[in-house]
Symmetry: C2
Subunit: 116 residues, 2 copies
DNA sequence: CAGGTATATACCTACTCGAGTATATAAGTT
DNA sequence: AACTTATATACTCGAGTAGGTATATACCTG
């Protein structure tokens, strides 16, 4: 369970993260809101904690868990090159549609684009 | 192997995606550049293809694989709420640092912040 | 201190998935 | 047609991991 990617591969962990994005929550609150058995919640929280996604403070018997930004920022950085890639694609599509618009507006039922 | 998240959890698959971000590649090229056994490459490409991360065109015996943007965009969208979260944090930190700057520049060795 | 609440952990099991090896398929070359 | 290149697939095996159940730990309340 090394990487950020493996951590967020698990749906319950993503649910926990999404829940924590609004505000910190105790284990019991997470348990109730996500309708998840308590050991399951604790185990996922442990994984998230050890990977730096969340941190906890003690409040009597409770633990209040809150989000930490770093690991998800790392994910965001990994995405950067791909963002450049797909925005290039959008640009190309826009240019293409612009050209089509000029050349013949008369054929709106066109089915296939030409292949190189 | 349903979700986008599970697909990119695998390091070799991430490597393939990163390689394809520059331009399309044949299976053999991927195999050589990533020093990965051919069946491994093919199997990961299959997973990526079925999940919509890549598409292939046939060139004689070769298959040229290229990136498709949608699945990674989906990941990008999942990150959106968290981005709001951490930019809020940066703002708060900046305000805090600003205040500290005004109030007393004279105590740079402060150790602990007050707890509620 | 007895009982209750909140959370963590230990143990087991079932399942998934990736690696490795061998083989199949298909196209190109001689 | 034989051979080679390029890619896909089938099969087996081992490791990792999530879920379930039971139990441990810690704190709070009467």
């Amino acid at each position: 369970m090394e990487s950020v990617f493996e951590i967020i591969a698990e749906p319950n962990r993503r649910a926990i993260l999404s829940l924590l994005v609004s505000s910190e929550q105790s284990v019991g609150e997470i348990e109730r809101r996500l309708r998840m058995p308590q050991p399951t919640v604790s185990k996922h929280l442990r994984v998230l904690r050890e990977a730096g996604f969340v941190e906890a403070t003690v409040d009597a018997q409770r633990r209040l868990y809150r989000l930490r930004p770093e690991p998800l920022q790392e994910l965001d950085e990994w995405l950067a090159p791909f963002r450049r890639f797909w925005s290039a694609h959008v640009d190309a599509l826009e240019r293409y549609l612009d050209r089509m618009g000029d050349e013949n507006q008369s054929k709106p039922t066109k089915k296939k684009a030409k292949r190189k």
